[in-house]
Symmetry: C3
Subunit: 361 residues, 3 copies
């Protein structure tokens, strides 16, 4: 079950070069995207209305896309504009078209009612394509339901276990720090101090500074957009602030961002797009590449545990999860997503992921 | 859903050598074929009646086949004739036998009621094993329903798109030529002029002749037998004949044949047998091999688009196709096949392929 | 369908080294086994009660096992003993634990009601870990239901066909010898003379002895434990005994044992553990290795035919088997297993393997 009236990331801008249609399954639907001659992106149902061949094996002709099985040609609106061997093209000859927007190096598709597609609802990725920042990008396919990946990103306590030797840095800091969770439009803000930790890797630190207090705050928005900014300060800052957010006027020692997007391919497969951004004044391009390589080792660790979790769930009749205190944010987010889906499809009763039973002590 | 009272190609004669049983799934049924000591072909259910082991892992003994799990021996009639360790063989110890005929280098099996198996219903392949002709052969397995392959062969307009760079020769001739379609017993005859095209490759053309008018006529018969003959004439012949068939007394410049057979393995897999035949007076053996290599590049193109089409259909709930004018022959053939199947099994309501909605302009 | 109140082999002792959890699916259930610091074996449900991640990706800590997704820790009893970030562990935080016993180099799990787990019900493997005997071990995974492997082991007549060139030694001796079948607790005893056969390979024979009469007797016990002992005597002994069992006081020329265990992974997959044991006074260690290599060639032959049989059954609607005289022991064993399963779950009506129809002549 998916939220439909929502923008989903369909890929990085650089995935779509002129003249080469790209097949993407999203929310169980076959979609073809292509860059038109005018540079814009079109997105159509990847299924010719004639004999159901995929249009992604077709040919871009100006702004249009021709099916290369029997030659029907489609405009970006989805309307068929040519049928070889006949002069009249009936109005029913059309495929579905998806509103597409390119913003912050991501291509976004609106998967619901086109009349409701509001560009203002697209979350803004952090520091993508900013000349003062390095940006590295990547993507990873999961054989798992998207909600399991949302769950993972909504509880960073797992860094101390899954990423013990990578992001977790052999420390219990993440498992022990309790974040504050607050609602924002279509999402949650999750923030915490990680106290007296080694300074961030890949960034030049001031002389003599080895450890920092780090304020890590991210917005998590539907359908699964993760926008994290870290700021580090001299040790003692967290206590001095009484564990509240840092003073916005206090200049941090370092700052980093990462933006990530979870897009369901279908109920059992998901694609995950991610960036890693570092300020050029504190890091070299090589530092930035090294940071992404670390991310990718860590994401491979997530991939292993989440795909294993998915396989266990799939073979468990009536799976039930146990709610613990660390699950606060992910429970709130599931509730938000369930409410939005219920608004769209009140008749669709149950979610596809296991029910929870409370066990917070 | 399959037509049962019909002859299906089970392989080339050279697939069946003495003493080596061959497993073949046809119409979803496991079948074992073997060449008996007398040179004839026997075809049995590939499933021992004892403990359901496949007889294709068995041993040919004269005209019989012994299961190599526990040693039961079967005659070509399907009757068990020996059970090790007991003297009486009960009549219920038997497997199904299929009428088998070897003709024109193909082995044909009758998949329906053996009492109705009429050898006269076997279509005659063209120029197979003719000493004046070269014959090359091959086969290809599709992960697709057989009807999608029938559809493909019944609308050669796709040559201009799918085979743009191989058989289509970068020309719209095939897409633009309208064939005449006429009923024949258990099939259709589909014929057209392809006008002012380059002469057929791999054949010696008369001096000074580069382009020809080609008469391409094929019979397409149940279950999926494609028998094509081409004849080429000097440019102008098509117009001189008023686009009607060439005068049978007019000697063509060149002629070629190809015979092809579509055999369902099951609802989602199909095997496709094909020959390419050239007259020895106009072509060398190497020409003939080159022609088959071209065919195989083209059939790989069909394979890609049809398997992709099948995957789209498989994940489309209630798939519907749109009927266009180019679909005339394939619609007629589907109707014929549906009628024959309805005669056999009136209770079986629906076909397994998408329904059509008309859109011919 | 499986018998639950029964000991199943979960692996060889050497499969379980300290600190490395091992995932095993048995009877369709995911299980994790690990060797505790005290050397004992613990076996838990391989599914954390929190978010269903597999515990087999966890970390052994003393006698306990910690989930490496979010850090919950479990005792061998299945009870959760630590939840990071909270002080109270609710009693519902637990996973299933399986009684585990290590005996004769095998680890045995009780898959049913723990209150009924009686160590006395574990069959004793023959000559495992006996200082006077060589023991070689192995295991093989089948894509087949466990009952088909039981069937195979309960009718050694197949040695003359499946193992014609390996264990069967190109002889009809196995197919022609009729065993005596007698009930024993939770199983059958199956014994026969194989008369005037070449002496056992890999064993030193007395000077001048090439052929022997061999008494081959095995117990076959639920769920699928095969315990075979062979004893060979001078040719003529079988006749002298009137085909009855040899005099227990008569010293055999040679003796060998093999113990084998069939453990269902799920309804369609099975693991098969086997040993080959030879007395050190008649064989070198290299002889013993050679014997196991022969076994493994033969078991590969079984694997091919049984997996093929399973595939045939899987695609046969309402498969039925035909009962012949050679099936006596396997029919008795199926009946025994069916009765034991019916005792456990009277409501579960039908077995998962094909029904039989009698055809013994």
């Amino acid at each position: 079950m998916f939220l439909r009236n929502c923008w989903y990331v369909a890929g990085w801008s650089h995935h779509f070069s002129s003249g080469r249609p790209v097949a993407r399954a999203m929310l169980g639907e076959p979609i073809v995207l292509y860059r038109k001659d005018d540079g814009g992106i079109a997105a159509l149902e990847d299924r010719c209305c004639h004999r159901l061949a995929p249009l992604s094996k077709g040919r871009v002709e100006g702004g249009d896309l021709r099916c290369m099985y029997h030659g029907l040609k489609f405009a970006p609106s989805g309307a068929c504009v040519e049928i070889p061997g006949q002069t009249i093209v009936p109005p029913r000859a059309r495929v579905r078209a998806y509103p597409a927007v390119e913003q912050d190096c991501w291509v976004w598709l609106w998967m619901g009612d086109p009349a409701l597609a509001d560009v203002a609802l697209i979350p803004r990725a952090l520091k993508h394509d900013d000349p003062d920042w390095w940006m590295q990008t990547g993507e990873l396919v999961y054989e798992a339901n998207y909600q399991l990946i949302n769950d993972n990103l909504l509880d960073l306590a797992h860094l101390s276990y899954v990423h013990e030797n990578t992001l977790g840095r052999n420390s219990m800091s993440w498992a022990e720090s309790r974040p504050t969770v607050s609602p924002i439009p279509r999402g949650l803000r999750i923030a915490r101090w990680v106290v007296n930790n080694p300074g961030p890797r890949y960034l030049t630190m001031p002389d003599g500074v080895s450890h920092v207090d780090m304020w890590a705050s991210y917005d998590y928005m539907v359908p699964g957009i993760f926008l994290l900014r870290t700021r580090s300060y001299p040790v003692g800052m967290a206590a001095a602030r009484g564990m509240r957010a840092p003073d916005p006027d206090a200049e941090p020692l370092t700052t980093t961002t990462t933006s990530q997007a979870v897009t369901p391919i279908d109920e059992r497969h998901t694609i995950y797009y991610y960036s890693g951004c570092l300020p050029r004044r504190l890091a070299s391009e090589e530092d930035s590449r090294q940071q992404l390589a670390l991310f990718e080792r860590a994401f491979a660790e997530d991939n292993v545990i989440i795909e294993a979790q998915q396989r266990v769930i799939a073979r468990t009749p009536q799976p039930r999860m146990l709610w613990i205190r660390a699950d606060q944010a992910l429970n709130q987010f599931r509730r938000l997503l369930d409410e939005l889906m219920a608004d769209e499809a009140p008749e669709a009763a149950a979610n596809t992921v296991p029910a929870l039973q409370g066990a917070a002590g």
